[in-house]
Point group: C2
Chain length 390, copies 2
């Protein structure tokens, strides 16, 4: 007969460490007494755990606080900005980006390098990515985990990239491939870039808890956040708004279908219609009121509005957040989107959909990847504590 086992002392300590570190991270500047009050753990337990976290470089002690009651004067505790960092890496369709985030959530370093990853083999691109990781490791900050953002379907259960249509990749085990190229002794998590960008918006953006975040690059992806949690479907393949068919007579898509949103409102299509070689040229032309640039973006706005109206009709989310290059195009997109959402969403009259612009810029996905790694450290700091002791 199986009976529930009592939690081992180690399990309890592990759980308590996460509780204490969470209290310090969400309320930086708390004293040991405040952490004790917040967690319900005794002051002795908190003090012992905090001392170990200070020794492990996870927590730093700041100035002494004003005495607010009897007993020893408390000192302010903060997550250590020199503790383990999360390293985010993004394999874009035409760039490779990295981002270092410390335990306080601050971005400490980032790089973005143009790289036409469509014309290279996965092996060559991954070698470039490994070099970018190696360069970051040279900065000599402790890395506690790596998050990798990719523009394709990543299966939650296995972490495998199943397909990235815009890269032309299929069945690539990014984690293994990277580990074969660079010594990484920390956890490596792989995720879909649109989902990670939506998480970055949730953690560092406008503070809304229910939204669809849509980012336009060469591909178009969405991340759906419901009640403060990512909704990515049973296999993690959700949010593929780029492959909604918006025009049955539209051009063929890399996915095998035709008239997908991506083919009608993706960055490449907009630039081509506008006759602009680069995105900066497009912005310049838009600001100058150039008619073909304006028409190209209006046309894209129309298709994007169709797809977003469909998503909101299905999901009843109160907010749409424009990310990636759509954030930069927001001044020329928002009116069309708001008008169409008002006209086509059945419930719009009782609560119209708000269109917000992400302030996170092109780095949303890579920042989301890095922060995911940081949150994994915070959720289970025990290995760092144990490693520091041995």
């Amino acid at each position: 007969m199986s009976r529930p086992q009592p939690a081992s002392q180690h399990t309890v300590r592990r759980h308590n460490s996460a509780l204490v570190l969470d209290a310090i991270t969400t309320h930086p500047g708390s004293s040991r007494a405040a952490v004790s009050a917040r967690t319900g753990l005794t002051k002795a337990t908190v003090s012992s755990l905090v001392d170990r976290m200070i020794a492990a470089g996870l927590v730093v002690e700041g100035e002494a606080q004003a005495r607010s009651g009897p007993g020893r004067r408390g000192t302010a505790l903060h997550p250590s900005p020199d503790g383990p960092h999360g390293l985010g890496v993004e394999i874009g369709v035409d760039y490779v980006a990295t981002c270092l985030v410390d335990l306080t959530g601050r971005v400490r370093h980032r790089t973005l390098r143009a790289s036409d990853n469509r014309t290279s083999s996965p092996a060559r691109v991954l070698t470039k990515v490994a070099t970018a990781i190696r360069n970051t490791l040279k900065r000599d900050v402790p890395i506690g985990g790596v998050g990798v953002a990719v523009p394709g379907l990543v299966e939650t259960a296995t972490g495998t990239l199943r397909v990235a249509p815009n890269l032309g990749w299929e069945e690539v085990d990014i984690r293994d491939e990277l580990r074969a190229r660079v010594a990484l002794e920390v956890p490596v998590q792989v995720g879909n870039e649109a989902n990670l960008a939506a998480l970055a918006e949730l953690w560092h953006g406008h503070g809304t808890q229910d939204f669809v975040h849509v980012s336009g690059e060469i591909g178009i992806g969405a991340g759906i956040v419901v009640a403060g949690a990512l909704f990515d479907g049973v296999r993690g393949f959700g949010g593929e708004i780029g492959h909604l068919q918006v025009d049955p007579n539209g051009p063929p898509c890399t996915c095998g279908s035709r008239g997908c949103l991506e083919r009608l409102a993706g960055q490449d299509e907009i630039l081509k219609s506008a006759g602009c070689p680069t995105f900066d040229d497009l912005l310049k032309a838009l600001r100058a009121g150039d008619p073909s640039a304006t028409t190209a973006v209006s046309e894209a706005a129309k298709w994007l509005a169709t797809a977003l109206s469909g998503a909101v009709n299905l999901l009843d989310l109160p907010t749409v957040v424009l990310g990636g290059t759509y954030a930069r195009l927001a001044p020329w997109l928002t009116t069309t989107l708001e008008t169409t959402l008002r006209e086509r969403v059945l419930g719009a009259r009782w609560s119209p959909t708000t269109v917000l612009t992400s302030t996170l810029g092109a780095e949303a996905a890579v920042r989301g990847a890095a922060t995911t790694a940081v949150r994994a450290i915070l959720a289970d700091p025990d290995p760092y504590i144990t490693a520091a002791q041995s």
Copy 2:
């Protein structure tokens, strides 16, 4: 200063009653001892609650069970088929339906009456509905709650029907209107018919926990079920698949948009294209291989496939369930749907979407409404117990 209060004895009894009745309903035939083991309540508490439930007509005692251990021989407990029933009512676009479900979940009675509700005022339709309810009340079974299914947006927070485009209704407080016409001293819940049909599928259907249930009538609605729970968005307006624009050049829709799925794959459109006056004529024509009937349904299948591919790309659900008239058309729809879902859903190669046919027939929504009322009784049986004692 506010402090958490200890639960009152009444609150505890209320909670325990629900626990005990749930154990009896999910495991009919259990003995008092088995209920005690399952709930963790003492045998004395269980016995006292069960005795009160028997007195209140919620539970019946069956045959004595084989002795399985020391002590008094247990008797089998069942939810009472003569206890309070849930009464479901559906206001369809062209019919009014009722359904009585007992505590065991069995359908005890049902009616379906054709009624072109589009050509009548809400007041006249609601008077008809009140008559249907009154006729059911004449059957002299105890009613514990009423669920009303309507083809429109129902706001979760207020229970108000905001809009029903196919009825031409706006801002109708169904609950108040019904209460003004018929004496109903039990809770009345109003819900969207597509969501209630999806819940009926969850409770009485194929046993899948993650699916989109799409039902085609004059309107087309979907209910999204994720991890065994209805996902209907922040205001309850989700699942409006009928208003996804699938053809930008399509005909205008009652919602104010154009090219909505509903206008291209709704029942009226199919009948018109097929040249069939009734749905039974259409089925006859399809079975006979009539080319215009076959073409009409193929065309509808194409548009339905577009909308469902979009929904699955966004939500990554493994299963589509065809309900309502789509269930009757399933032999002529399924191949197109499966093929298109395979071609257009980006993750389909790793786990193709299964297309199932609902076995609940036209009564899914009204049964869902009735079962919702039954589940409300089971979730809080205390008022019935108290009423029986006074």
